[in-house]
């Protein structure tokens, strides 16, 4: 199939929604700041352990932003080609990939960083060769494998790293307030502590909802892109465009949940 002037608004919508969702990196900032917040519940004698964790996470931050940026920039390019516009790319992914490679996380899985770097290379090629809508299928074909790797890497961090923090925090809240209850003999003080405990637990619940939404967003982006890849030779097929439109709608809904949490 030759594209050139087809109406691919659905793909453009999906790309724009995905780009916006992937660009939302507030959870990364929360992940990096988490050990500092954990100090509220832990005895001061354990704060140095938390400081070390913060230092490690500051290093890891670049890696997480690399994945976010790779998905965001790629989706931006996808949307532009779907609208038959030129791709604009500032090689931010490359800069982040170089930064990650030079960090002490030398033993982390390099294939994920390489996947992000290959998306960068592809976007640079799209700029240099002035790709337009007729090259949309090529972009999807070449990007799908590394994009799936990058999305999976980020999703693993969200599902395990970010959500794991909340499991630990839940335990820390539990232990902290049990200790306060053990030490306090003042009924008013106990009642106040109970209120604080409830507030902290609600806060954890909110963040858990955001993490679940982020995880679902990444899963939907990966699935929808796979659908595009599987049908890359008929991107103007009406049935396909309806399916992609539906993915875009689901993504917008999830994004609202993510931002509300």
């Amino acid at each position: 199939m030759t594209l050139g002037c087809a109406n691919l608004t659905a793909i453009g919508d999906f790309a724009a929604t995905s780009s916006e969702a992937a660009g939302y990196s507030r959870l990364v900032d929360q992940y990096v700041a988490w050990p500092e917040g954990e100090k509220r519940f832990e005895p001061e004698s354990h704060w140095s352990q938390l400081d070390d964790l913060t230092a490690a996470r500051k290093t890891q931050r670049k890696e997480l932003l690399l994945y976010h940026t790779a998905i965001d920039d790629y989706m931006d390019a996808l949307g532009r080609l779907a609208a038959d516009a030129l791709v604009s790319y500032d090689d931010e992914i490359d800069g982040l990939a170089k930064a990650v490679r030079s960090t002490p996380l030398g033993t982390r899985d390099r294939s994920e960083v390489a996947a992000a770097a290959s998306i960068s290379k592809l976007l640079a090629k799209a700029v240099t060769d002035a790709w337009r809508q007729r090259e949309l299928a090529d972009l999807i074909e070449e990007a799908n494998a590394p994009l799936q790797v990058v999305i999976a890497a980020l999703k693993t961090e969200v599902d395990q790293g970010f959500a794991g923090d909340l499991d630990i925090e839940q335990t820390a809240i539990d232990l902290h307030y049990k200790r306060l209850e053990r030490e306090s003999h003042d009924p008013a003080g106990r009642a106040a502590a109970l209120e604080w405990e409830r507030a902290h637990r609600l806060d954890v619940d909110d963040r858990r909802r955001a993490i679940k939404a982020q995880s679902a967003i990444l899963a939907k982006i990966a699935r929808a892109h796979q659908v595009l890849y599987d049908q890359r030779d008929q991107l103007d097929d009406k049935e396909l465009l309806r399916e992609i439109e539906d993915y875009a709608r689901q993504l917008r809904k999830l994004q609202t949940q993510l931002k509300a949490a």
């Binding site: 352990q49 030398g106 033993t107 790293g161 794991g164």
Partner: protein, 131 residues
């Protein structure tokens, strides 16, 4: 031996989290109430160290390469899990502290990514449970 993946690091970290919960449950049980202040404080200190080791392992243990001659990941997980169960059942404060402290040492060894320290600390957990 292949480097630890995110999934494997997370699974090991979860075992440490569960062990910290077990120590906490001990502290706030009838057995914990019967502890002397110094034993209680020592065990509480271990509980926080094990909990923090869980976060540390999840963040930093990806890529850890375990020594072929040392304990496997499966063994580390099994020891940590057995230690958690043992803490629930122990009768003496001394034993609870020994097991919890051995887990603190194992957590620190994993975070340091030192195969020798991991092997020795894993043996420490085994010894604490079996002695």
């Amino acid at each position: 031996m292949a480097a630890l993946t995110s999934d494997q690091a997370f699974a090991l970290a979860s075992r440490f989290h569960d062990a910290a919960v077990a120590v906490g449950n001990y502290l706030y049980s009838a057995k914990g109430n019967a502890l002397s202040a110094s034993d209680w404080n020592e065990l509480e200190d271990a509980q926080w160290s094990i909990l923090n080791a869980s976060s540390d392992i999840r963040t930093t243990a990806v890529g850890l390469v375990l020594d072929e001659a040392g304990p496997s990941l499966a063994k580390l997980q099994a020891y940590t899990n057995r230690a958690r169960i043992a803490i629930k059942k122990v009768d003496t404060a001394k034993k609870a502290i020994e097991i919890a402290t051995s887990l603190v040492v194992l957590g620190a060894a994993v975070i340091s990514k030192d195969p020798g320290a991991i092997a020795s600390a894993a043996k420490g957990v085994y010894d604490a449970m079996e002695s």
